[in-house]
Amino acid sequence: MPDIAELTTHLLNGVVLGLLYAIIALGFMLILGTMEVINFSHGVLFALGGYLALALQPHVGWWAALVLAPLGVGAVGLVLELGVRRTYGRDPLFGLLFTFGAALALEEIIRIVWGPRGYTISVPDFVSGPFHLGFLFYSKYRVLVAVLAVLLLALVWWFLEKTPYGAVVKAGAHDGEMVRALGINLTRMRSLVFALGTAMAGLAGVIAAPMWSLKPTIGAEAVMPAFIVVVIGGIGSFGGAVLGGLMLGLASGLSNLIVPRGSILVMYVLMTVVLLLRPRGLMGQKSMLEL
């Protein structure tokens, strides 16, 4: 039976994991909620973020890589959107298939450039190693991950809820025709949202790379939790993505205390239970997945 100190550490770990899942899922949710495209390449863009950081870090340092790598991924997202835009308003399967093909192509490009071997990225020196705080023992880097994740979530919330651009994004998701009729360039707005969503995938990749190592296939493993988070939280819901991420992180982290071999299974069980009770997710609205 775990004591209170162990339980507290596992709870903290679950929250940190959850925040990480939330930022992985946020870009995915943004694109799905706004353009109704299931971006299957989200995972590989996550991996690309890590690989770009790997290439940039020796030259510009970790902090600069944290900014530049997501910008690079966002630029790739802009190019990708040129193809994706042909699928807007059509059967969601078209968008899914296009991004699936793009994911395969991008993974091959990663393999060609960096090879099939794995890499690890060092964390900045000031957050290297663990810290002890009374009974609490934890990794310094993961605390930084939590802080960065909270900052990013706050920034995206502020952008969506408090700026006119956010209002346009939300209006575009709700009624694109009306937004266009108001003289707003919907095509450009969608490009920017796609770039933002992919840049967030890249940012999550940079943050996760020092913990999870890099492999060309790491993206495929990241996209599934992101999808589960969005399904649990509800499509198009910012709060839902955060809540879904935290639930998934806590469930996955705490399951190791009870049924260690079920730490992956528990994610799918959680999704099934939520879908049975609330088919639109915890905070979701009607979406294209219901068509």
Binding site: P2, R117, G118, P130, R142, M211, S263, I264
Partner: protein
């Protein structure tokens, strides 16, 4: 009564017709195989390489393949095998059993390969071995380490080149218990190899009187090990036996370093593939392990082999041979030598040429033997740990050898074998 010969309408007697038919039959009987043999002699010997380029064992799968390709190129440079060129046919088995079986089936049925070689994951090697036996094709399992493929699931056509879990656990156990402590915590990769490795660990724990403080199962695909590391820290073991392989092992060590767990206990990775160490680098590749070979081993022939490998694979991610690529090389080379000894590609003859064969030029201090009763290549093992960065002569010089264990001590005795192999006569004829 006078004998009257039956005459056909065209003037041929029946006697003449029968004689002619017999002569034709004899000619076909003689010329047919000769022509087939001639056609075979011009035809390359096709070797199917089942090596991962993606999934958990992508790095090691490619190291395995590099060794095999070098052996094939060397054989071709000497004029081929039985006067025939050797050609590889490679498929990425993706560290996935169903993909591997589908692709191997395609290699056998469509490409008509003569032999098959390659495996890292025991989860992949076992079904490939079953498939090979059904067809009768000889299959060399170059780099997987579960014991089952040379015990309950052994096959006449299956030959296993890596040391197995029993060997690794048996070699490490006494050293670990004596020098590092007897309170052990086990991490088990949740698939055939991991479970098998933990069973071997437990068997060995009884011998060395070690106590098990706990076990955590690690599902395949796990990327975050923070919860496991926190559990291990609470258990306060002296030794962590990490029966975890591939990219999961890399992520585990990365995070153990991040949490400072590498200093909480002595970590032992009973089976260590060098490509995973390269991914981590010397700082994070902490711990003790067992290995079959490294390029720094000073043994007859190893310098030349290392030089040839470096020359051929100068641009490869790992340009030096390691335990994985050396197994790939030796397995491939011995397959081709066995064909030469048998004088044919017919499986029954090649199997006979392999069973009991002693490999002296194996770049090790002691020779290896292809054991006839379970087809395991009995070989020496080396206990090792990661070198300090300051002691490394180059980037790849990461392994410090601690002790050598000769094959007769390292390999399981025949009395422990659970292998009940098919008789050669019951194995379908393939090739030739």
């Amino acid at each position: 009564m006078a004998h009257k010969s039956t005459t056909m309408r065209n003037g041929l007697t029946r006697r003449q017709l029968l004689t002619g038919a017999a002569a034709f039959g004899a000619a076909v009987g003689l010329i047919g195989p000769w022509r087939r043999a001639r056609a075979q002699s011009g035809k390359p010997i096709l070797i199917g390489l089942t090596c991962d380029a993606s999934g958990t064992f992508a790095d090691s799968g490619q190291a395995d393949r590099r060794g095999m390709i070098l052996a094939i190129e060397e054989a071709n440079a000497k004029g081929g095998v039985l006067g025939r060129k050797v050609e590889p046919r490679w498929e990425d088995t993706e560290t996935d059993a169903s993909v591997a079986v589908r692709k191997a089936q395609r290699l056998i049925e469509r490409d008509r390969i003569d032999f098959m070689i390659g495996a890292l994951s025991s989860g992949v090697a076992a079904p490939l071995s079953d498939l090979a036996q059904r067809h009768g094709i000889i299959y060399f399992n170059s780099n997987s380490s579960a014991d089952t493929v040379t015990n309950e699931k052994c096959h006449r056509t299956n030959f296993v080149w890596d040391a197995n879990n029993w060997m690794f656990a048996n070699a490490l156990g006494p050293l670990v218990a004596k020098n590092l402590g007897t309170k052990w915590f086990i991490l088990t990769h949740d698939y055939v190899w991991g479970k098998n490795a933990t069973a071997a660990t437990r068997e060995n724990m009884k011998k060395v009187s070690a106590d098990e403080l706990g076990e955590l199962m690690v599902p395949q695909g796990t990327r975050d090990f923070s919860a496991q590391l926190l559990r291990i820290r609470s258990a306060k073991p002296q030794v962590v036996i990490a029966n975890v392989a591939g990219i999961e092992q890399t992520a585990l060590r990365e995070q153990a370093y991040e949490f400072g767990a590498d200093k909480d206990a002595a970590w032992v990775f009973p089976q260590q593939d060098f490509p995973d160490m390269v991914t981590l680098g010397p700082k994070k590749a902490f711990g003790y392990f067992c290995t079959t070979w490294h390029y720094t081993v000073d043994a007859p022939g190893s310098k030349e082999f290392v030089a040839n490998f470096r020359k051929r694979w100068a641009g490869a991610p790992i340009p030096v041979p390691d335990n994985v690529s050396c197994n790939g090389y030796l397995a491939m080379r011995e397959m081709l030598r066995a064909i030469e000894r048998a004088g044919t590609t017919r499986n029954h003859d090649v199997i006979k040429a392999l069973e009991g064969h002693v490999i002296k030029d194996n770049f090790r201090k002691y020779p290896s033997t292809i054991r006839p009763w379970d087809h395991l290549v009995g070989q020496m093992l080396t206990l090792a740990k990661t070198k300090r960065e300051t002691d490394m002569k180059e980037k790849w010089d990461m392994i410090e050898m601690i002790a050598e264990i000769p094959p007769e001590v390292a390999a399981p005795p025949q009395s422990l074998s659970k292998c009940k192999m098919e008789a050669i006569a019951d194995t379908p004829v393939y090739g030739g």
